[in-house]
Symmetry: C4
């Protein structure tokens, strides 16, 4: 069996999704890529979480074709594959239907950056992609979902903004590996909830939501404190 260690990591990442309350039933998937081999491991489609194992994860190539595995891979496999092809620095990808993030995706709005909880991981707003056209959906839905994401990130750095919302659908997140993508999925759900409540707390007092936006220099400070060349959060590694 190929990629034993990677299977284990992807399995763990998938199991973390319901544990963090991001997934009910089978509504989520995580994958991670082995860049040297050009292969990624992803959850099988529609299999209950308590039946998942490292062994029934599915190995795919960068075209999303199954290389090893008896089960169908996640129906979103073509999206994962396209993002891996497009963004070399991305090592892991997660998709969920977590409640608050989906709500922003359904409203078709970016999640504005109202504070440091978001700024520690997202260098600005979590962007909401445009909706797919009827033609894009009919032609190749999952592949084109990937294309719309990459298009939406033109001029943006997917490392500094490790996630987005797909309109009328839900959140995708990524990171250096599957665990980092899970982490960012949790962050997105947290800030999605907080941002809604922030706007409501403004609204009930008649305060414009624009006044709640975190100033750019606060974003700079928090993002750099964790991710810049002189980062001092956490332990030296």
């Amino acid at each position: 069996m190929m990629l034993k260690e990677l299977r284990e990591k992807v399995y763990e990442a998938n199991m973390d999704l319901p544990k963090h309350g991001l997934v009910v039933f089978t509504w989520g998937n995580a994958s991670e890529i082995d860049r040297d081999k050009g292969l990624f491991v992803i959850k099988p489609s529609g299999v209950d979480y308590d039946e998942l194992s490292p062994e029934n994860m599915v190995v795919c190539d960068l075209d999303g074709k199954v290389v090893e595995g008896d089960l169908n891979p996640s129906s979103d496999t073509a999206t994962h594959a396209y993002l891996y092809r497009s963004w070399e620095k991305v090592g892991g990808i997660v998709h969920t239907h977590s409640s608050a993030a989906v709500s922003w995706a359904q409203a078709g709005r970016d999640i504005p950056c109202y504070g440091t909880t978001q700024a520690d991981y997202f260098y600005g707003a979590v962007p909401c992609m445009r909706g797919l056209t009827e033609e894009e959906i009919e032609e190749a839905y999952e592949l084109n979902t990937g294309k719309v994401i990459v298009e939406g990130f033109e001029g943006k750095d997917p490392v500094a903004l490790p996630g987005c919302l797909v309109r009328n659908h839900g959140p995708f997140s990524w990171g250096k590996d599957a665990a980092a993508a899970v982490y960012h999925a949790v962050v997105m759900e947290q800030v999605a909830t907080m941002a809604l409540h922030t706007e409501q707390i403004c609204a009930t007092a008649g305060k414009p939501i624009e006044e709640a936006l975190a100033p750019q220099y606060l974003l700079d400070k928090h993002y750099m404190r964790k991710h810049g060349p002189n980062a001092y959060y956490g332990q030296k590694k």
Copy 2:
């Protein structure tokens, strides 16, 4: 004891309701029908969940009369019976007072389809039925609840829309068996929460909620991807 296997399935379905956070105390019930025998099994009325067992489930005929069982069946039995009589393709029914779905039922509004989480299981809005008249309530409340549901589905397919809201009351859902009805009850509660938040995220930014509606071709794609003749979600069976 009749229908031993069906009793077990209905028992499990009922126990899943509090596990999914859909039910407090005894506020819910699940049933499933054996179409060959024309009998369905349903939870007894007002019995604590930790006192339920496959053995104390109640067997009823299609008129809702008890065929086997020492306990009174759920007070909503006549509703279940009428739906089974009216809709041959329905094999299981669930009723709960889950918080978000009840809130939509109380507001008397359909849950609009804002995204794929709903479209994967409901081919459009989750419809809210009209309220019962005073006469309907006094004459035969539970039976007429069933009649109002069937009336509200004239021109609609209960397989493509496996649930509804009864005004000022709460959600009913159904499916090929009791487990599927439970599944759809969970979906309804999830999308009820998301739809409220979606509308609020629109509202705080002054965006009309109509702009958040999922386009019809997205509904088509998601519903067909899971339920159409060429469905490719999940594993071949």
Copy 3:
């Protein structure tokens, strides 16, 4: 030690409060009365839930004076005592700071009856009492809280409306015993959450909240179905 069985029941009722998510820390109390002896048992004040036992419950007379017990009784004891003195049919009382019910109490609004979840236990709106005056607070705060509740129920039946909101404070509920009072505290928290969401679902669609009110004949039916002389919910007892 007096009232051994009653101590056990009151202990269990108090322990159920955090279990139902109604209480954090020590912010709640339950009591039950022995009408024959004219004594009630109540939780001690400010003691952690994991240090409670049937033995450290406090026995009080109808003036709220300690008859047996080493610890101070709940600081709300005078409120409980006054309600027991005023309402002969009440056998158990609960006070909590449960989140949604407190929010309605703080807003100073009755919880309107929007549906059957509430109508099954409350024959109409959950009433919010007037605030206490400065004089009432300074003179005898807890006793006067009881007086304001009884005043607010003039013309109302505390059996048909087994709970209320004390303005800027929180919910009190009652019933035939402490367990029933806990049950009604859970109902209040559930319907408080649902009523807020119901109003919000109306608001985002520009629908007046008055249109969401349950019609009187629905209240009649549901309340009578459970509590009237011909009640048919649950099992014969």
Copy 4:
């Protein structure tokens, strides 16, 4: 190893943060000071909660310099140190990113005192501090966070208001020790949720939120009942 008992207390306080739902991942920290020695113990930075132990807590002096410990202390250490230097009566400090409190901090609003749940611990509104300027952030972010808090409390008593919101960031709380600071962090999260819902319940009925404010004499009564010279809540100690 120094301060063995204090390490244990600070460890327990930190572990209580996720237990109360105030912290996901590593987003929080608690500390406590030994006033005689002029040293405080604080959580290490960015270490998973399940890897924490009394032994890997970090001991710092009042300038925030590490006196004992192999790991970096919390990135917020300079804030803790400044508050300890400024406020002699404060013995423990907690910082979290709890969801509702962060939402108020992001909205840049004080949490108004709408009821007794808040008044039992906070003698008035939970104040939101001004945002830091660009210069303050660049010069010494964490130290200046402490300075902005102390500035915001000019004319206020940090014992009577044991917490605040740092704008676009989140809540800080304190108390006589780390356990008290945790307690106040829980109170802040609770009242932050209730205050939002209170305002929403006003809003849906067109009631001005000012009418929901608790009257001053109710604040006086509740705060004094627990903390005044004649306090009668809880047990004599």
